[in-house]
Amino acid sequence: MKLHENEFLAEYAESKLAVAGALLFVIFILLALVPSIFSSQNPYDLRQLALKNSFLPPGSGFLLGTDGQGRDILSAILYGLQISLFVGVASTLLSVFIGLLAGLISGYCGGLIDTAIMRLADLQLSFPAILIALIIMALWGQGISKIIIAITVVNWVYYARTARGSVLAEKEKDYVQAAQAMGMRAPVIIIGEIMPNVLAPIIVIATVRIANAIILEATLSFLGLGVPITRPSLGALIASGYQILFSGYWWVSVFPGLVLMLVVLSINLVGDRLRDVMNPRLKR
């Protein structure tokens, strides 16, 4: 992999759309890291809001208009972006961690542990992710950490399966057999020897699944089962705007929706390209 890094980048850059997606995603990350730079106000500091500014259309002093409490939509979007991306990235990291661990153990140990973990994965995969996450959130109530856990419960399976598949292939190779012959202990072999070799496909899947995690969070928040309304993500902003869509205040929900769409699109553009470049079966 290391040797071909430049080749890899060059091939990635052949698709201008994919490059644009990567740039867009980096911009979103930067905006989310410091939302205060481009915000005219802290949208959740009530002292900075004025009711006389409520429901101003876009352009009238507020670039993207205001909501019913006189909150600047642009500022709300930037702070909401932070929460959406945080939930997406945090839940993905957590699920990669748990999934990788489960997959490595399952693949290396085999036997009863393997059967138990994979049966659990099969059982879970036979149900739509949204339904499982919905039930968890319905029981637990809203909360940022709760939704991160709910998404992790749903997503660990994908990494566990991929990791297990790679381990099964790696296990038979000479370097693992050599390590075993040298008397290295199983945890050392799994983490020190095998793990570095199974990471690449997991990273590709993880980039794509950040987008899924963000959509899942937004959907649950839209249904009122996601983040609390005091710290709204993009999905929660859209939900609160939807209620007043019919009164003609379209900008309250449409702008957060557009941003959400662009975020997910940029991630999917990157993920798509990574997959095409790394899939040798599609090489001409």
């Binding site: 339904l131 937004a218 859209i238 939807y242 929900s253 449409v254 929706g257 553009l269």
Partner: protein, 317 residues
């Protein structure tokens, strides 16, 4: 073969038992619905009487055992809100959801497979790039956002399509009246978009891989027209994985109907579950989950069996 089918069937039943336990445990933990059910001026005695009436004063294992014995007789309890049998409440809403999901599935298959084939045959051409970008949009747009934009454009701005309900029914379906068809367009398109995008992508990827196989090159080399090679030789082998995915995706459609039905106030099971979760209507939530789980397990069972017919290598194991 018979042994294999029996095994899969036992496996399916086992899963359903596990799920019934999980679902019941979940709802048991979820809390006491009596407070929500009583009028605000009810006394302590009323609360105790209601608890006894609903059987909520019993310990967990007694409640679960009673639940299971009743469940095998088709009785999951009465809805706290509607007063009817919870299963009946779910079954009454099921046709609306199945109708919506079927129309969405049909839209995505009829458009997705041809578009996927087109995108694979000339991958570098401008229309193919357009199709792929559209499919990328399709998987990037959250279902609720599609629905909202459609409502904004066609109901709020243009005022041509109704934004809620099923419209006039004939024989329990909206598909036989003009008003009903107007009502189903937006929910069905909303629900279909993601599946459509997915089917385009699956068909294209499968097609690209198949088109590189030697037997395709042979067919071309012996002078068969490109059209025949693509639509007969290649498509046939691409469709096997696509069809199994379509089966599994029907379950996804039922799940995503939760979102679509909430947006369009479509009176199906999806809207029912959201309402029931908010009202803590435990029996209806349990009934919904059991019915939906049974549908999923059934679909998986069928897909498993179909696989063995399509790919005999699996049967050997």
């Amino acid at each position: 073969m018979l042994i294999y089918i029996t095994k899969r069937l036992l496996y399916a039943v086992g899963i359903l038992i596990i799920i019934s336990f999980l679902v019941f445990a979940i709802m048991y933990k979820a809390g006491d619905p009596t407070e929500l059910l009583l009028p605000p001026d009810a006394t302590q005695q009323d609360a105790i009487a209601l608890k006894q009436y609903l059987g909520l004063d019993q310990p967990f294992h007694v409640q679960y055992l009673r639940f299971i014995t009743h469940a095998v007789h088709g009785d999951i309890g009465r809805s706290f809100i509607y007063g009817q049998s919870a299963l009946q409440v779910v079954f009454e809403r099921l046709p609306a959801t199945l109708e919506l999901a079927s129309v969405a599935m049909l839209i995505s298959i009829l458009m997705g497979i041809p578009l996927g084939v087109a995108a694979a045959v000339r991958p570098q051409s401008f229309p193919s790039q357009g199709i792929m970008f559209f499919s990328l949009l399709g998987i990037s747009i959250p279902v609720f956002w599609t629905g909202m934009v459609l409502v904004l454009v066609f109901s709020v701005i243009l005022g041509v399509l109704p934004s809620s309900g099923r419209g006039a029914l004939f024989w329990h379906t909206s598909l036989l009246t003009a008003d009903g068809i107007l009502h189903i367009i937006m929910p069905a398109v909303t629900l279909a978009l993601f599946q459509l995008a997915l089917i385009i992508r699956l068909t294209r990827t499968g097609m690209l891989e198949v088109l590189m196989e030697d037997y395709i090159k042979l067919a071309r080399a012996k002078g068969l027209p490109r059209r025949v090679v693509v639509f007969v030789h290649a498509l046939k082998n691409t469709l096997i994985p696509v069809i199994t995915i379509i089966g599994i995706q029907f379950g996804q459609l039922i799940a995503f109907a939760i979102v679509t039905e909430t947006i369009f106030a479509w009176p199906g099971t999806g809207k029912l579950i959201i309402d029931s979760i908010q009202n803590l209507d435990r029996p209806v939530v349990v009934a919904y989950l059991l019915v939906v789980a049974t549908i999923f397990v059934f679909i998986n069972f069928i897909v498993d069996i179909l696989y063995t017919f399509v790919d005999p290598r699996i049967r050997v194991k």
